[in-house]
């Protein structure tokens, strides 16, 4: 693609770099006559960790796909580091929910070295970068294995290392731990926090898991139920890292987010003609209001 997106490339990859800012201005995305998202505005600072939180089917992933350059925006303006997004770009890394995105016929090291290889790095540089980022995600010892032989959590680590080996300004993560078991997910969340701080990238992280968002995000953007979803509210998360779920402030935030999303879920159910009687007097946890 074009070199439209200027991200901060690091010389060696060992010094913490800076992420690129993302600006979303009045963005709408249509597929034919279907309006997936509409009028979304968000300013994501360089190096920030932003979670997009919302009920399933609300267009979080669609917005993320647009940020990755996979989908074109129908209205509005989407910029990274000040330049408009014109298509997929190595400066915009994507971690997919499914480890199908890994290349099964390549070893773990070859997977991670893919980006550097595509941009014509020497073989020695490819190996050095791959091993460095495999070290960062704790998989140096698996470099010569094939992804099919790894556990789900390890495969997602490979995806993260593969994206970071391109030294992107922005890392986009689409429910990356959604398919993992609860224990593995918890470990991966802690690791993500550590890796993000080590890499200094801007992260946009899509999830429908409120606790995950509280654990990871600098800010949480709650989306309305689709179609024509937009951003309902943005919550700053001013909690010390590493985060503690039992923190009273976290509990307070969780309650607020749950109420906010619950309202959207109920609205979505009503739109589908389903009215399970949750409407007035009970919230999602079943507590009387």
């Amino acid at each position: 693609m074009t070199k439209a997106i200027e991200t901060d490339r690091r010389e060696t990859g060992s010094a913490p770099g800076r992420g690129a800012a993302v600006s979303v201005d009045g963005v709408g995305i249509r597929f034919g006559s279907f309006q997936a998202v509409s009028n979304i505005s968000l300013d994501i600072a360089a190096g920030e960790f932003l979670c997009l939180l919302g009920p399933s089917g609300c267009g979080k992933s669609t917005l993320l796909s647009a940020m990755a350059g996979f989908e074109a925006v129908s209205e509005g303006d989407l910029r990274v580091g000040g330049a408009p997004i014109t298509g997929p770009h190595p400066g915009l890394g994507m971690v997919f929910q499914s480890s199908e995105a890994l290349f099964d016929w390549m070893t773990v090291r070859q997977n991670v070295a893919f980006g550097p290889r595509m941009r014509g790095a020497t073989r020695a540089a490819q190996t050095k970068l791959a091993d460095e980022y495999l070290g960062l995600v704790g998989l140096r010892h698996c470099a010569d294995r094939f992804p099919g032989r790894l556990s789900g959590g390890m495969r997602q680590r490979v995806q993260i290392a593969r994206v970071l080996a391109n030294e992107p300004g922005v890392v986009l993560m689409d429910e990356p731990f959604g398919a993992l078991d609860a224990q593995t997910r918890q470990v991966m969340q802690e690791e993500t926090d550590r890796i993000w701080r080590a890499s200094g990238c801007t992260v946009v992280f899509v999830t429908h898991d409120i606790d995950e968002a509280i654990l990871l995000a600098d800010r949480i953007a709650v989306m309305t139920a689709g179609p024509a979803a937009s951003v309902k509210s943005v919550y700053p998360v001013d909690l010390p890292r590493p985060r503690d779920e039992a923190d009273p402030a976290a509990t307070e935030l969780r309650r607020a987010l749950r109420a906010d999303i619950g309202e959207e879920v109920r609205k979505a159910l009503r739109d589908q003609g389903l009215d399970p009687g949750l409407d007035q007097d009970v919230d999602l946890k079943g507590n009387l209001r």
Binding site: P88, P90, F96, E100, A101, L102, W105, G115
Partner: protein, 272 residues
């Protein structure tokens, strides 16, 4: 291969070779039994219908020895095997790139689809006369018929494989900086290998179906021509030799193809 979990698997790993050997012996036993039962039924049929209609296993074996002694059998196997290998090989060589383009580029697909959908319903035997008229009675008419039968099936399987490549792999490659050409060579082709191998195996089967009709007209030598000329001499036993040799040759070719493919292409997910 079974997936052995790391750690707890040590005692199991040690016992596995024995288990594998026992299992192999048992399946070998079943195969042998199956062949023996088949020969038994054949023998019964030969006894009840007589050797003018069904040559018995013993007569067939004797006929095979007779044909082997004067070199007819070996020459037939070599001639037919050569035609099949050349026609099939060309079919794979042409079918794979065409299938890749058909699967990957919409306008190529739309342009070629009518032809593919038209010709794949016309059996090669329908073209025997034309092939001889256009290409003469030499090798080329037979090879072209085999090529014809192989190329469509390879193309169709390859393009189906291309269209089945997971979207997330393509997106991942694009966002890691791969160009269109790099994606085609580096992602689409390797992801499609299992489909290509399936197509090549099906094409091999079709080539064997076609070789007999390809050798109907004006072939001096070959298993198909052996079968056709035996008919003229009224030698049912030779016909049996031709048919059985054809079956064995196909089995051997497919086995060799499977072994090579699963050895060389294992990392691409080819499991046969």
């Amino acid at each position: 291969m079974t997936v052995a979990a790391a750690g707890a698997a040590t005692p199991q790993t040690r016992r596995r070779p024995v288990g594998t050997t026992a299992r192999n012996l048992r399946s070998l036993g079943v195969y042998t039994l199956s062949v023996l039962v088949g020969i038994g039924i054949w023998q019964l049929l030969a006894m009840s219908y007589g050797s003018t209609l069904v040559a018995s296993p013993r007569e067939t074996l004797a006929a095979a020895e007779e044909l082997a002694r004067d070199g007819t059998l070996a020459n037939s196997v070599i001639a037919s095997g050569r035609r099949i290998l050349i026609g099939w090989g060309l079919g794979v060589l042409v079918g794979v790139p065409v299938g890749l383009l058909v699967g990957q580029i919409k306008i190529v697909r739309q342009f070629l689809e009518p032809y593919i959908e038209f010709f794949r319903f016309i059996p090669p035997v329908a073209f025997v006369t034309l092939a001889v008229v256009w290409l003469g009675i030499g090798e080329s008419s037979k090879v072209v018929l085999i090529f014809y039968t192989a190329v469509f099936i390879v193309t169709l399987n390859t393009s189906a494989g291309v269209m089945a490549v997971s979207e997330s792999k393509l997106r991942a490659a694009a966002s890691l900086g791969a160009s269109r050409r790099q994606i085609l060579r580096g992602i689409v082709l390797p992801s499609t290998v299992p489909h290509i191998v399936t197509g090549a195996r099906l094409a091999m089967g079709n080539s064997f179906l076609t070789i007999v009709s390809a050798e109907i007209v004006a072939a001096q030598v070959g298993l198909g021509s052996l079968i056709w000329t035996s008919r003229n001499y009224g030698r049912i036993d030779w016909v049996f030799v031709g048919i059985i040799t054809l079956g064995i040759l196909g089995f051997v070719f497919d086995r060799v193809l499977r072994i090579i493919a699963s050895r060389v292409l294992r990392r691409y997910g080819v499991k046969l």
